[in-house]
Symmetry: C2
Subunit: 763 residues, 2 copies
């Protein structure tokens, strides 16, 4: 099959779907294999499509869905990595493919399955006996890649009836598989990351069955070496058609050489999804070692190289059959690099070599790649151009390969400390930014958190309208639509309209025996202005009738100035055609987050502030406070950085301060009057310290409105005293109450509202 038509359809080659599967073993804080069970929060291992176990109970496997780009797959796997990290207490994810400190073989726990899935456990015991549990603990990454359906649409068109779509898929993926296997030594040479195992780490010999140390002279990838993760004998196949290949695999199973087809550890697997009815759907690249230098275990460089070599393999003319001899040759090249690839000045054994050094072989291959791919427009894509340049640098300065840095690090710090430090560093990074869904930062934080909880519970999602935060959550048996995390099926429409309408909210709460600031509404500026005398001298709240989020609200504590009153009316009337005047209730405002009649979180917001230490200037205190990873700019984080702007300077000046003032130890200096998080305010959790009588009131308020999900804003004089007829008032009910502020408060515990929501939605 010819691919000249791709010259005219640039871009078709690069598109496709990309998925990752990654294993990490769990370790204790001292680097020993964790012997605890797989965390219960991930649910049934066979039902969660994102987070499960591999061979060992301690070996977590994370799986992304097929995604439209390599960065999307990397972001998704990092998010899964974060979710797992947050769910394993003080345990860590071991960032190296080769194992940490292990107990005796018999104590290595095999993944446990229940009832109908019992045979999965038996299979693991079986392969544990054949290969040794230590070898099966070796972890890695599988990269699943397909060409786009648009590519095959065009291929079918170009074939003009000569081939069916299924035939074309077979031709394409088998050709890629053959050529990629041939050149795969270069992947190992560039991106092998398992140069040394822990001193004394032994694996069961695949031939004698006896324990043998896993070490080698100048190994680049022990995992993919003959000592690593592979079958007891090398198998050769007829890769000229899917049928011949598959029948040969079946024959091995029948002959008892393999327990099941999945025991065949080829560097590439060809995968067929039901939708393709027997034709190949994608390729699974399995040579990828965990990269300990990356938090998510993989560099995008490695994945782009896999993809580039895949495209090259499609376009490269095959000059000789990929028969058993050629396969053996390819295997020997890989083995040689796996075992000795660290020595860049080395050359292949004479019968394999075509150039004086391996580096020269590498250089020759990537130059061929460049000249073959350029006409197809691959280099018009800035990313691929940059990635090829990076490859070229690595080939020319092989000491820049990540595997070399890993080798150097282990040598300098020791195998366990080197990896343990990285693991701890990654854990801290995760905990600092746990609110983030990598790659979906354009979504609101509340939605990012909801989707993370969904993944943790094995619930799929689909973004229906990203700008609107409109998502679909689904499993095989259930689906839910959610907007902005808290707009759900659980609430009925008229309840939302009640909460949106402050007048109605107050009437209904008042009737339910709950205190509210009873005020008046005015439809015109003139009417409202005429009411000035009635409110004069009384602390008064002036607000638009129906907006959320505190927009357009003024509080006049004295209310003696008609001019201020007029300004406040004007502000309110820009947001609604009706303005409300209410008596101001003394006390502090608390947000009660209520779900299905339970208060799940209570928060108080404090205006932007710093606390004096008796020696630092206010500006330094601000800089220090802003170092908190929860603080950012532009609502991408749960808190905003405190600004040193005009408003802050003015507010300081009113207190007789400026940014250079040094304030005494423990004196709190406020930078703003308003307590909004958006202007640097602090969110402080009070869920455990609130007098329970207020929780009951918040629940009753939710019930009075028939609200499943609501944020009740309550003014309270003293949260240690029980509620009575004059010491509190509910001032607002919010139908779209943010969850992220309760999950990542400035002070206090993560109330995990995202998980509560997922459960309330029936997942």
């Amino acid at each position: 099959m010819e691919f000249n038509w791709l010259l005219e359809n640039k871009g078709l080659l690069l598109n496709g779907l990309f998925g990752l599967e990654k294993e990490n073993v769990r370790v204790t804080p001292t680097g020993k294999l964790a012997l605890t069970p797989h965390p219960a929060c991930f649910g049934d291992k066979t039902a969660n499509p994102f987070i499960t176990t591999d061979f060992s109970e301690s070996q977590i496997e994370m799986i992304t869905p097929p995604l439209p780009s390599i960065p999307a797959a990397c972001d998704f796997i990092e998010t899964l990595h974060d979710i797992v990290t947050e769910s394993i207490g003080d345990e860590l994810l071991w960032p190296q493919s080769l194992p940490p400190t292990l107990p005796n073989s018999e104590e290595i726990p095999v993944a446990q399955y229940e009832n109908a899935d019992q045979e999965l456990e038996e299979y693991r015991h079986h392969i544990g006996r054949i290969y040794g549990k230590e070898r099966q603990l070796i972890s890695g990454i599988h990269f699943n890649v397909s060409f786009s359906e648009a590519f095959f649409d065009e291929a079918v068109k170009q074939a003009k009836g000569a081939h069916t779509r299924a035939e074309i898929k077979e031709l394409v993926y088998l050709k890629v598989m053959r050529n990629w296997m041939k050149h795969r030594w270069l992947y190992v040479w560039l991106f092998g990351e398992t140069p040394i195992a822990k001193r004394g780490f032994q694996v069961q010999s695949l031939t004698t069955g006896e324990a043998q140390p896993m070490c080698c002279g100048a190994s680049m990838s022990l995992r993919t070496s003959p000592l690593g993760y592979r079958n007891r004998e090398a198998f050769f196949f007829d890769f000229s058609s899917l049928a011949t290949y598959l029948s040969e695999v079946d024959a091995l199973v029948e002959a008892g050489k393999l327990v099941a087809t999945k025991e065949l550890y080829l560097p590439i697997r060809i995968k067929c999804l039901p939708k393709d009815k027997g034709a190949p759907s994608y390729l699974e690249f399995r040579l990828i070692d965990l990269n300990p230098l990356e938090k998510n275990g993989i560099s995008t460089h490695a994945l782009y190289f896999v993809h580039m070599l895949m495209i090259y393999s499609l376009l490269e003319t095959e000059t000789a059959p990929f028969d058993a001899e050629a396969q053996l040759c390819a295997n020997r090249r890989q083995d040689y690099i796996s075992c000795f690839g660290r020595r860049a000045s080395d050359s292949f054994p004479a019968d394999l070599a075509t150039q004086p050094t391996v580096a020269a072989e590498a250089e020759a291959l990537i130059l061929k790649m460049q000249s073959l791919l350029r006409p197809y427009g691959i280099w018009d894509n800035a990313i691929y151009q940059t990635e090829w340049n990076h490859l070229h640098t690595l080939v020319q300065t092989p000491e820049k390969r990540a595997g070399i840095a890993v080798f150097d690090g282990i040598t300098a710090e020791g195998y366990i400390p080197f990896h343990l430090n990285l693991a701890k560093q990654y854990k801290q990074e995760t905990l600092n930014e746990g609110y983030r869904f990598h790659g979906l930062e354009q979504l609101e934080l509340s939605t990012q958190l909801l989707l993370k909880a969904a993944l943790c519970r094995g619930v799929n999602f689909e973004l229906l309208d990203t700008a609107e935060n409109f998502v679909r959550l689904y499993t095989n048996s259930h689906e839910e639509y959610v907007v902005q995390a808290t707009k759900t099926r659980l609430d009925n429409y008229v309840t939302i309209l009640m909460m949106e309408n402050k007048v109605v909210t107050k009437q209904l709460l008042h009737r339910a025996g709950i205190r509210v600031p009873l005020g008046n509404e005015y439809d015109t500026y003139e009417e409202a202005l005429a009411a000035f005398d009635r409110y004069k001298g009384k602390a008064t709240v002036i607000k638009p009738k129906s907006t959320n989020f505190g927009i357009g609200i003024s509080i006049l504590k004295e209310n003696n100035s008609q001019a201020d009153f007029e300004t406040a009316l004007e502000i309110a009337l820009t947001h609604d055609r009706t303005v409300m005047l209410e008596p101001f209730i003394e006390g502090k405002e608390y947000r009660f987050w209520v779900l299905n009649d339970r208060v799940e979180g209570i928060l108080h917001r404090v205006p932007a502030n710093v606390t004096g230490d008796g020696k630092s200037a206010i500006s330094d205190l601000i800089v220090r406070k802003n170092e908190d990873p929860l603080r950012g700019v532009g609502y991408r984080t749960p808190l905003e950085k405190i600004k040193q702007g005009r408003e802050e300077a003015l507010f300081l000046k009113q207190q007789g301060y400026d940014f250079d003032t040094v304030v005494p130890l423990n004196e709190i200096v406020y930078l703003r009057e308003n307590s909004n998080i958006s202007t640097g305010g602090d969110s402080i959790d009070f869920t455990d310290t609130m007098h329970p009588s207020y929780n009951i009131l918040a629940q009753q308020a939710a019930q009075a409105m028939g609200a499943a999900i609501t944020g009740v804003d309550m003014m309270i004089s003293d949260i240690s005293q029980p509620a009575n007829d004059h010491n509190y008032a509910i001032i607002e009910m919010n139908f779209n109450p943010a969850i992220h502020i309760h999950c990542y408060p400035y002070k206090g515990k993560n109330r995990k509202l995202n998980y509560k929501l997922i459960e309330a939605l029936g997942f």
Copy 2:
């Protein structure tokens, strides 16, 4: 008790609550008593607080709740009158207190009750035997009036502990009752409306039990005369305290002179509601004849007089006790006026007269009223000032009294024809404006219709926020909140958001296998403009991503002008930050109104048009079409009047016409391109003619969105052909679909969606 303090609290006297109870007998189109059962649509007679029966099964009683003004009570009773009128097929409501053509006594049906309420029926049989069924058929109006609680608040304050609130209520209402009874002859003289009965109408004598004709020399009110609706003997009471009065009534019942206290037919009843714990709550004025000259049976003049006389009665000093002698004297005055009041030049019998003529007596009393009330500020109220002037006119020109006009009308046309013509005229008025809830015209038509359906079914309502059309519907056992008639508890919030989001709507419908115009969305003007080439030459719809009601939508049928394309984009982008481009689907647009998976109405809208008659100018055709009572101005009616404005002139000009053009018979001339009802378009019902395959699609669409209430907008090529893969598309789902257009279409049946909604809400 003194009321001087009211001089300083002007306004307290006028406020209060006002309620009406009105009976009308149902008659056939020829004026015979209808012998059909009470319409089933009103439900259980004992459970419907608004519409029930009185003595006879054919005698409908309509009851308003207490309302804050006399006009509000009149409007409400008119709405109940309309609801009843619309529910009795071709029967009519008899506008006269005295009966229509009656069958034999034994055929007059007594109101029927079932099971536990059987004793109500037995009571009716009992009083039918005592008073005669003919007398019990005499209908009238009761007017319930109270002073405001603010009045009593101030009275309690002024009493400075000398009286409790309950004592004050007793003092106030008993004084009013005594004085009002004394002066009540003037009410009858001014507003008596039963001057003549049907020739040959006989009532059972209260003394002999024999039938006697009901007629009298110069009667003003036969109903309140000794021949009318009263007890067999005159009872006198001690009205100085509630306790004495009530115990005397109880004694009459014990003595067997009355079957029950409700058999006591005094001109005023004092009523005690549970909330007042034994103290009086309001007075029921019972002297009021139906006014045949008013559709709703009552003129506001009469009610204002009752109220003014009530206030006068409170303030007037009592110079003598209202003992049996005084009561007899008051009765005799009333009886005299009832029997002879039509003769204005007449005088009372010598022992009752204080002036030469009754007219002079009337003049003296209303002048006293004026001088007593003026200092209390009653005359500062323009309405009361005007009403008093009207009274003065009637006193000075007694021939202007409505009762005289009724007498003259009956004399001229005959008793049955006179009243029957009025009944038919009122029925037509009702049918012309059936969409209207009198007094609540500030609500949207859909909400007015919903509230009418609620009343019909005996469901109470409360307006929580009139501007938002936010209402509460309730019975003793159930309540619902509704906004704009169709925003209810029945729909969940996320379904609303799905419908609001056109992109999500289309995705979900498309997945459900329903045809939608698959288009594209653009976030910037530039992106959208760049797509011009893709859409060039193809009929294209350009619209904002999420607005309802067709706002900001342009259809470019040719789409060859980039300038037009730009304009359309600009229009769309003023309504949303995202614009959508879609292929235009050929066909006509139909609105399917779906409730709980059933299509309840289908409508097609046609641009403003007239049909030629071969002789009239277009402007005359417009005037004639605009005479339809369904057409109005400013969205207060189901259709809008066609304008003769610039747009219409321009559109005519494009067709080579102007407003003076005479078009041939049956030629349809369009005045507008757009089909909006708001610019004079026609709404045409297709519920019964649509091919059922489209109904199934509309239902499936509602199901796909999980919508309980939705308006599905579908383009259909030919409604007589079944739906297939290319002849229809759903273009929009509306979460707040208007109901009034389906209830009052230009052509077609009333689909009674307001009643369907009330039922769906569980009432």
